[in-house]
Every structure is written in C-alpha cells, then in structure tokens.
C-alpha cells in the first residue's frame, strides 16, 4: 500500500481555558488519508475538525501523538510548500489588491518568479477573479473572500489541499463551481482533505471519510463501503416471500442484507415477479446524526420543553 499522504496516530491536544482549566480539544485522534484520495472530515461544530487542521498546518503546537505529512514527522516547515490551505472564514489584508496578494502568497509558497504569472492566470480563470485582480480585498463580500481563499490555496499546485469548511458563505452556483475546481485539483493528482458538516458535499466529492465528535474519531473508512452496507430492496408482485411488506399499489417490498442476496432470490415463492432490485440509498445526514447520537446522545434533538413550548 502506498504511503498515506497524511496520518494522525493517537493525537491528543489540549489548550488553556479560563484560569487553570485545560480544555481537551482532541483525544487520541487517529486518521489515515490515502494518497490521491478525497477525504471528508465530518463533524458537528466544535467537534475538533479545525483544531486537527490547525495542528497539521503548524498554527497550533504542543500535541501528543504522531502526525505525519507525506510520510515525514510534522515539524519541518519546508513540507508545507506542498500544502494548500483554506482556513474557515478566511480573512486577508484589507489594503492589498487581489493580484498583489496572490503573487505574495505564491512567493511565500516557494514558487519561482517565472512560474507565478501563469499560475495566477490559471486560478483567475478557475475562480473568475481576472476582472477583480486590481480590487482591494476590503471591498470583497464573504463569498468573494472564499473564492480568493480557494485561489490562494491552489495557486502553487499543492499535493495536499486542506480545506476547512470550504463551502461556507457560498451561493449554490459557487458551491457547484467549487466542487468542479476541487474535482479538477483531484484530477491533477492532489489529495483533498476537507472538513464539513454538510454531508451532501462529502457525498458528492469524497471517497474516504472520518467522523469526529468531541475530539474523538468515531468512525472512518471508504465511503463506498458505507454506502455498500445499506440493505438491498426487492420490489415484486404476485406471491409474497416471508417478511415482505405490502405496498399501496398491490406490490410488495422486502429488504435484506447483501450477504443474503443469493439465498433470498433463489427461494422466492413460485409465481413471484421481480419488478425492481436496488440498493437502498443511505441518507448520509440521518446516518451521521444517528452515529453521533449513539455515542453521546446529544446534539440535534430539541429538548422536550422546547418542542412543546412549556417547561419540561
């Protein structure tokens, strides 16, 4: 197996809260991000996604455990030349123009002066920033800042693109464009690692995922395996097999696991007709909520009192 692009092994991190309290932001986080994969890092607000990313980017330090980037221990700042990073709600210097800023950050990424104009033109085209290159960033809306944020993250063609809530503040058109740009980056050979709590985005883009909650990774793996674990749905007419439920149109439906597929099909009652055989689609949103609730029993559900409007 190829060396993972990024790995966390038993990483924990705490920071000083009020007075002498320490807040444990991460508790033994272990992750493997394979090369050339698109990795969705899922978690609710405050779950530890941004903290993990900041540790990776060297913005936070003092963690326990081992973080490896491109197979090397974290610590050598030169490895960050191969990283692209879009922070959550990015802010930029107000008084620099888009063009100046992009050149500045490209230089800091170690690009040679000769390569910078072509690299900038590429991202101007990808993110429609060409007409804005002389505009100062203080006049930018949240969505425009996000576009510039992605531009600066990919201008130096990084091997690993780390995006913290990349779709935040974008309208539907720009969400779609961001997904296209991310797919292009992936086609170029870059590994994508992005955090989100919007599960449809992860479903659209990712082939690997991890779920983090309260600083702990609850689950990780291939998205295809997760989707593949959903039951098979058989719809038919005529005589019903055991366990089938009647549908209003006079047909019936039965659900079974992939492992039972051959046996179930072989033992259908005589005269039964198969109308449709599909894998039931997992609602990732429901799965995520159920998964997190199963561990902590908190989160999305409203308290009884709040639901009824009275005291609980």
């Amino acid at each position: 197996m190829a060396e993972p692009e990024l790995s966390f092994a038993d990483v924990s991190f705490s920071y000083r809260g009020d007075w002498l309290n320490r807040i444990h932001a991460l508790t033994t986080v272990s992750l493997l991000v394979p090369q050339a994969s698109a990795f969705g890092f899922l978690g609710a607000n405050g779950a530890g996604k941004s903290t993990s990313i900041k540790l990776l980017m060297g913005l936070l330090h003092g963690h326990r455990g081992d973080i490896r980037l491109f197979g090397q221990p974290l610590g050598d700042h030169r490895a960050r030349a191969r990283l692209g990073y879009l922070p959550e709600q990015p802010y930029f210097y107000d008084n620099l123009a888009v063009g100046e800023y992009l050149v500045y950050l490209a230089k800091l990424s170690g690009m040679s002066a000769a390569d910078i104009p072509a690299a900038c033109d590429r991202v101007y085209q990808l993110l429609d920033l060409g007409d804005l290159r002389t505009r100062k960033l203080k006049s930018f809306s949240k969505g425009m800042r996000q576009r510039f944020g992605l531009a600066q993250a990919i201008v130096h063609r990084p091997d690993l693109l780390v995006l913290d809530e990349p779709f935040s503040g974008l309208d539907p058109l720009w969400r779609a464009r961001f997904k296209q740009v991310m797919a292009l980056e992936r086609a170029r050979g870059a590994t994508l690692f992005f955090s989100s709590h919007i599960l449809s985005d992860v479903e659209d883009l990712c082939d690997h995922y991890a779920v983090i909650d309260h600083g702990r990774v609850l689950e990780q793996g291939r998205l295809a395996d997760l989707m593949g674990s959903s039951p098979i749905e058989l719809t038919g007419s005529g005589p019903k097999p055991a366990g089938a439920e009647d549908l209003p149109d006079g047909t019936w439906r039965v659900l079974f696991a992939e492992s039972e597929r051959a046996e179930r099909l072989a033992h259908l009652p005589a005269g039964a007709q198969i109308l449709r055989l599909d894998r039931q689609r997992i609602a990732l949103e429901d799965w995520f909520v159920a998964r997190v609730r199963a561990f902590h029993g908190a989160g999305a559900a409203l308290p009884t009192g709040a639901r009824t409007g009275g005291a609980s």
């Binding site: 900041k54 980017m57 913005l59 030349a81 990073y85 210097y93």
Partner: protein
Amino acid sequence: MIRTIAGATFREATRSRSFVLLLALYALAVLLSRVGGWISGTDGSTITANLVMSLQSVFGVLVAVATGTALVQSEIQQKTLYTVLSRPLPRWKFVVGKFLGLAAALVCGQAAMLALGIAYLWITGAPVTGWLAVAGALTAMEVLVMAAVSLCWTALSSPLLATVLCLATYALGHAVGSLPGLMYHLKGFQRPLCVAFASLVPDLSRFSYRDEAVHALPIALGEIVIRLAYGACWIALLVMITVIVVRRKQL
C-alpha cells in the same frame, strides 16, 4: 521570504488609514506651528523650528504605535496570518519581515515629515542648517525603537493595552535620561534598583538632539554613531523577544 513579507507589510502599512491620516495631521500641525512662534514673544522662528522638529518625533511615534499595533495584532485577531504561516515560512522570518516592512514604511514617513518640516522652515525664514537633518535621523531611530516596542507589546497583549503600554514606555523612555541626576540623592539598595529600572526601558532622550540642532550646536560623528548603535541594539533585543513570544503562540 523576509523581503517578501517586508514588501507586503510596507504596502499594507503605507496604505493604512491611520498612517495616511497621521501624516496629514502632522502637515496640519506644522502649518499651525507658526502660531506658537508668534505668541512666544521672543525669537519666533527658533520656537517654530523647535516645534516642527518635536512634532516629527511625536507624530512619528504615534504612527509607529498605531501602525505597529494594528499590523501585528490584526494578523492574530483577524487570522490573516493563517494563510501566511501555513506556508513554508518559519515564524522568526515572519516577525523579522514584519518589522523590516514596518521600519521601511516609518523611515519613508519620517523622511517625508523631515522634508516637509525643513521646507516649511525654509519658506517661513526660520534658520535651516544641516544639523536639522541629523536631528531628523536620530528622531527616525527613536521612532524605529518605538516600532520595535509596539511590535513586542502587541505580541504580548491586546491592541488597546499594547497602545497604552507603548505610550507609557515612550514617557518612561524620556524620563530615564534624568535618572543619573536623581541617583545622587539615593542611598543603599535604592541606587541599584534605580539602575535596574533604567536598564529595562530604552533611554529615548539619547535620540533627542532637536534643541541643539535648532541652535546649530554641533554633535560629534562618534556620538551620532553611538546613539544609532544604542537604538539598533534595543531594536534587535525587542525583535528577539517578539520572535520568542510569537514562536510559542497558539493561533
């Protein structure tokens, strides 16, 4: 890398509203300095020259503190440095580049102030000698020391507190010069305590050659070099402290 950071910092600083506004206020204050000369009743032109040279120091320090505290603290508070420090850039280079960019902006500001001040004195018929330029250069070094002070306080505290601490350091820095005279009256442990206190703050009175310059009293080249070297040492020390603080900072 350092040059790249310094270049961006220079552009950001010189385009900031506080920088431009304080330069404009300096120009206005210089124009009004003639009033001080008129109401003094004595040699009005000398008073005007003294005021103009003092204004360069006061406004220079205000620009250094306003720009210095805003530049670094906004980087931390507004998180603009996330996209910078996530690149292959060690933090010490970031701090040094930041200071050099700020210093370049302040030197340009000081040069503009000095040129405007001398031009005004020349137009109004006040005595203009080459010693004014020397005084201007020493004032510029004082402003650079204050820029390093503001960088250091900013790394250690909030922007508002850093501004207050910078202005307190400026006041103390000018008071430290009178401590040797005071020490005659001290006894026992008070004297080393006073020396220790004095050594914690840069003696900004060393950069004050304005009164002498207005009266064309010469200063030895060696003395100028010593004063500039004193300023450079303080800058190096303060930038080093800032580097240590920023390296340990959790962002």
